[in-house]
């Protein structure tokens, strides 16, 4: 069925051939890796909302006292007042303004969360990459050690350690949390580094004669960075939770410092009569953990090279 349209003009049929690089022209727009990840993070609405919430909470903890003008430690006669225009979050049993107290409490909790996560992630990453990079017996021993430590219930040890410090200041709580918290990160980073050590582009760098240090700086760190950052965002809420738990059990921050956990535990006593004393610190803890988890999810999807189209 040669159904050709015969009245096509002749010049349409002069062979031109094709130039080689026309086929080679790059079709996709040029994006660097970070720009690509940021673009994907940006159009993930939930992650951006979580990030804004986080920034809001951070601002609140830093400037909360200035906004409401109350001194968090100044006692006053207006004890146990419900939230009102005067005291937005109400007052506690000593008449101190709760809005200010939750704000400075937030500072402590966020500090412990962020610093704790940073220290353990840093130490865990170094431990994991060293163990993977050396390999062989050393790697087996280091991993055996991690296995034993991580088979001890995490909070039992934290309770023991915080008892040992006994002055239950921010520093001692942090130390207690960090001594045990790095095992999970170490295992994660070790797996990632092991994959890299055997990858082709690291072997290629070795055959090119690139020194070990340069390989670590140029290849290892950038490629494990995304795993470390995502893990970091999931560790922070974990620490805030642990600190709050310790304070709730009476081992955490003791006065004059305060944290969301100790505020919540103070609010627990007369929870039936003044529920707001417990509600606001609990709300802050939940919101912070919520936003960190959501932001962590968004970050993981954005940085995951597999999802890149």
């Amino acid at each position: 069925m040669n159904t050709f349209d015969l009245n096509l003009s002749d010049d349409l049929f002069t062979i031109e051939g094709c130039n080689a690089d026309e086929g080679e022209k790059l079709l996709r727009p040029h994006t660097t890796f970070l720009k690509d990840a940021w673009r994907r993070l940006r159009n993930n609405k939930i992650a951006i909302a979580a990030m804004c919430l986080l920034i809001l909470i951070a601002l609140y903890t830093l400037f909360g006292t200035m906004i409401c003008g109350y001194d968090p430690t100044k006692m006053s006669k207006e004890m146990n007042q419900a939230p009102s225009l005067k005291h937005w979050f109400g007052t506690d049993k000593l008449g101190r303004d709760l809005f200010a107290r939750v704000s400075i409490g937030g500072r402590v909790s966020m500090l412990i969360g962020v610093v704790g996560a940073l220290i353990t992630t840093l130490f865990g990453s170094i431990y994991g990459s060293v163990s993977a990079f050396i390999g062989g017996k050393v790697d087996a021993i280091m991993m055996r050690f991690v296995e034993i430590i991580s088979s001890i219930p995490y909070l039992i040890v934290v309770i023991m350690l915080s008892l040992m410090m006994n002055d239950s200041g921010v520093k001692s709580i942090l130390l207690a949390l960090c001594i045990v918290g790095w095992c999970q990160t170490a295992r994660l980073v070790r797996g990632q580094v092991l994959q890299l050590v055997n990858s082709d582009y690291v072997t290629a760098a070795r055959t090119l004669g690139v020194s070990n240090w340069k390989i670590i700086l140029r290849h290892m760190i950038p490629n494990t960075m995304s795993v470390i950052i995502v893990n970091l965002t999931f560790r922070i809420p974990n620490y805030i939770f642990s600190e709050a738990f310790l304070s709730y059990v009476g081992l955490g921050i003791s006065s004059p410092d305060t944290s969301w956990g100790s505020l919540a535990s103070a609010g627990k006593e007369n929870m039936f009569f003044h529920p707001y004393q417990l509600f606001f610190p609990a709300l802050m803890i939940a919101l912070t953990m919520l936003s960190f988890t959501l932001f962590g999810d968004g970050l993981r999807d954005a940085l995951d090279p597999k999802l890149r189209r």
């Binding site: 034993i148 088979s151 001890i152 039992i156 023991m160 809420p237 009476g250 919101l287 953990m289 988890t293």
Partner: protein, 310 residues
């Protein structure tokens, strides 16, 4: 298979020993000791006799040897200093039953429901149920268990008196505490199960099963569930520890005579034998659950089972 289990049990005792050693030595570095809280006023001489009675005056490692001898010979963990005459082992036996009951039931409920909800969320990906379950899961992780406890207590015992506020005994007492404690594991498993089901469902053998003519529910039952449950099993062990730490607080909120509240009071009173006893109990439960998870893993995944026999 048996050889593998024996090896794991030996490993379990090894870990238990290490924990008790660490706890024991940690205890003795804590400034202050049980007597300061209690006996400021007593004359000097009674203090010395008191120390001698509990062997606290001897150097630490000797106390440790005495302690070990106590465990292996008479199977006692020494006497509680805070409440003289009360043997740690009796306390453990009597009260650990309650703690482990609500703890393990909470984990079981959390795991089973979490697996089901996670699979549902994955199969209805990005549709309404997936979104709703996603929110519940996030809330489950974010809201700390003790806050949940107080809120539930307020709602379901004071506002709508469905359950008794405090105490223990009737099954009705158990509902609220178990509900609170199972909410966090439920959330964790929903998220884990959802991501592992999403991985498994894109595998070639699932497309192969569909090409064989299996209906979607058959594909899920025969192939998806078994393969996607494996990763969730691995976090069952550590999750048990998290749930039990939650029980400390829940027991104090609902005043359940479990080991948790005992443990907290012992810690505050620096009651060494009691603290060590409780710590050992919780570590035993935790390491036992790790063992159970390993055995389940070997049963479900033939690759590991056969690797052991070879």
């Amino acid at each position: 298979m048996l050889k593998y289990i024996l090896k794991r049990i030996l490993y379990m005792f090894f870990v238990l020993l290490i924990v008790t050693t660490i706890t024991f030595f940690l205890m003795h570095f804590i400034p202050g000791d049980p007597l300061t809280a209690m006996v400021q006023k007593l004359p000097e001489q009674t203090k010395i006799n008191y120390y001698a009675k509990y062997g606290l005056d001897k150097p630490v490692y000797i106390q440790y040897l005495v302690f070990l001898k106590g465990i292996f010979t008479q199977g006692t963990l020494g006497e509680s200093i805070r409440f003289p005459g009360r043997n740690v082992m009796d306390v453990l036996q009597k009260y650990s039953g309650f703690s482990s009951e609500i703890g393990l039931v909470a984990v079981a409920i959390g795991f089973v429901i979490g697996v089901i909800l996670g699979t549902l969320a994955a199969l209805k990906q990005n549709k309404l149920p997936d979104r709703v379950l996603g929110v519940i899961a996030i809330l489950g992780i974010s809201v700390p268990v003790y806050i949940l406890g107080t809120v539930f207590q307020y709602l379901f015992t004071v506002k709508w008196p469905l359950f008794p506020t405090l105490g223990w005994g009737t099954p009705a007492h158990k509902v609220l505490p178990i509900l609170c404690m199972s909410f966090a594991p439920l959330a964790t498993y929903t998220r884990y199960m959802r991501s592992s089901v999403l991985d498994v469902i894109n595998q070639d053998y699932i497309t192969m099963a569909e090409a064989k003519g299996l209906s979607f529910s058959q594909v899920v039952r025969h192939h998806v569930l078994r393969n996607s449950i494996l990763p969730s099993l691995t976090i069952l062990g550590p999750n048990v520890a998290d749930v039990f730490t939650g029980s400390f607080v829940i027991e104090s909120i609902f005043s359940i005579p479990g080991l948790g509240s005992y443990y907290i009071t012992a810690v505050n009173d620096r009651d060494f034998p009691m603290i060590i006893g409780c710590a050992m109990f919780y570590t035993a439960i935790y390491v036992l659950s790790l063992l159970v998870v390993d055995i389940l893993y070997v049963i479900i995944d033939p690759r590991i089972r056969l690797a052991q026999d070879k």
